[in-house]
Symmetry: C2
Subunit: 388 residues, 2 copies
Amino acid sequence: MSNGAGALLEILRRQPEASRSELAERTGLARSTVGQRLELLSALGYVEEAGPRPSTGGRPASTVRFKPDGGVILALDLGATHCRLAVTDLNREVLAEVSHELPIADGPEQVLGRVRTLLLALLRRARRAPAQVRAIGVGLPGPVEFASGRPVNPPIMPGWDGVDVPRLLSAFGAPVLVDNDVNIMALGEHREHWPQCGDFLFIKVATGIGCGIITGGRIHRGAQGAAGDIGHIRVPDADELCRCGNRGCLEAVASGGALARRLSAQGLAVDDARAVVEAAQRGEPLAVAAIRESGRTIGEAMAGMVNFFNPATLVIGGDLAHAGDELLAGIRGAVYERSLMLATRELRIVTSQLDEAAGVVGAATMATDGLFDPARVDALAARAVSAG
Amino acid sequence: MSNGAGALLEILRRQPEASRSELAERTGLARSTVGQRLELLSALGYVEEAGPRPSTGGRPASTVRFKPDGGVILALDLGATHCRLAVTDLNREVLAEVSHELPIADGPEQVLGRVRTLLLALLRRARRAPAQVRAIGVGLPGPVEFASGRPVNPPIMPGWDGVDVPRLLSAFGAPVLVDNDVNIMALGEHREHWPQCGDFLFIKVATGIGCGIITGGRIHRGAQGAAGDIGHIRVPDADELCRCGNRGCLEAVASGGALARRLSAQGLAVDDARAVVEAAQRGEPLAVAAIRESGRTIGEAMAGMVNFFNPATLVIGGDLAHAGDELLAGIRGAVYERSLMLATRELRIVTSQLDEAAGVVGAATMATDGLFDPARVDALAARAVSAG
């Protein structure tokens, strides 16, 4: 049962400022309760006085507002070979940011040790102290048990299986939330550009293929946290051997990695997804054709998901999305042709606007969502009341 | 913001009785507020005194409880050719029930007129007055815009497109909620047998094929309310013409209707899904083989959904589910073989336990969920406070 502190903070995070009587009216709380809860939120550093509002007669109403500089968030997007790290304020505005080469296969101790050093330097650059860190969000390139923050049999992360990632980042004394990269990219893109969209899919097409699912503003994780793992859907009539041991998986046929292997065998010098896109941008006919075909294959697989889930928006991200229309045209064609008319009537299929920033924006979003979860804020307020 | 009335009712609906101090503790409301809200709930007819609880010393605590006979629910499951109607108490216990031939193609005025007559007879049988009806839940065999209760281009319901179903049942003076049959079957089966299951799918295999999706205890409807419409997913290498105008749809290949057509062409006298199942139960080899193959085809299509959605439980219902193991074996084989190991590690695939009652149980569940929605109860309580 809510005591109102969380609900008040939710309102203040969504508008520039509010008077106490507006807050009482919108929450149904007594004015005295509003005042008491605001004191607690102010002691936590999350709200502050905003001064009097110009009055239309009578005594001017004093207002309060959310305080974005009441702490900082650390946002970590760890990929297969690179990391992107950011310090943001409590509104997820980036204060300092860095990208760095950092092979995830170096293992958790070495990678997270290096990350800690980079984060301390970033905090200095942002002129903030480590003690000001309020929450940490981490995206990893593999499956994660969200409740514990531990990777689960991650295929490209040797040494990370079952590792307690929050413990390895506990030096900052802030809660650490960990999820897989596609989920946080979906969350970032959704919150930043599609916040009103109730049913949203984000498909990452890079070395692998994965999907993040947002419904009712939340990530759909599924029973084992495996939801969105579309890379191993079977493609009809395909026979390519997949790293998972099956044949004909979507990822083995249509990912950037698969295209790089196929084009290399045809004599084109491309080692990875980015090189394939560059070749297509140079106008290499083989690369252009391969990307279009890949879009079509992905679209055919997604047509079933679109019927099943009925999303309003489907965003395509990841390295291969840089091929732009080549990839998109294939996906759109196949989805519109093969999904039910009712399910595609208002469906938008577009490329990611956040692009390479989707991961850190999503990590910061996950961290602030956890930090300002109304039930958590209520519990903090209740503890403060009983302690005081 | 909650005023507590809805939350109190939620608690009382889940346990046999509670004392006022327990309720105050669990909700965080002041004891005086608890007393005031309970008076309102009692005036609405939803709670009553349960008398003193045996005491372990000191004054015995008086308790209150939910009052299942504080009104009745009408539950309507309207199929293509038959209807099933029930009067239940507020705990969804069936007080009287009837099944009746009633072709949906007779059109809304005639069908709902007949339904009203049948419901009045059922109420008499249950010794309840029409004025005691608190809510009505309706399942229809086609797509429905849930917010308005209007069917949307329903393929087998001539004359029903856009019809205001709640208005045609307004004589009972109670709120009317309408959804498609597969959604309410999923809701009924979930609440009755899998209430703890977070991610749940119910697949109906009958004349057509559809899927109900439950996540976090709620029906996932999707952007246009079309979620779960898996009957038109494309089956690789299939060419059968579907009623939707495409070729190779799952429904055109593997539904009971498709099997009946195919077996008839092979000389077996079966007109519909039920006849196909009866033939299989008699041991007709053609029918047995066709049902197994249908299971395999459905399973191959579902393998992708299982990777995507990662459900914990997948229930198979509808007429063809009466074929039991023949259908189930095919579905299980294909799903376990083609889905990711992580997604199927704890996946259960079973047949419906509610079977033909799934629709009415689901309709009653939808009606009580709407009636006792905490926000709605809070609003009623707030109105009573300001009126009093």
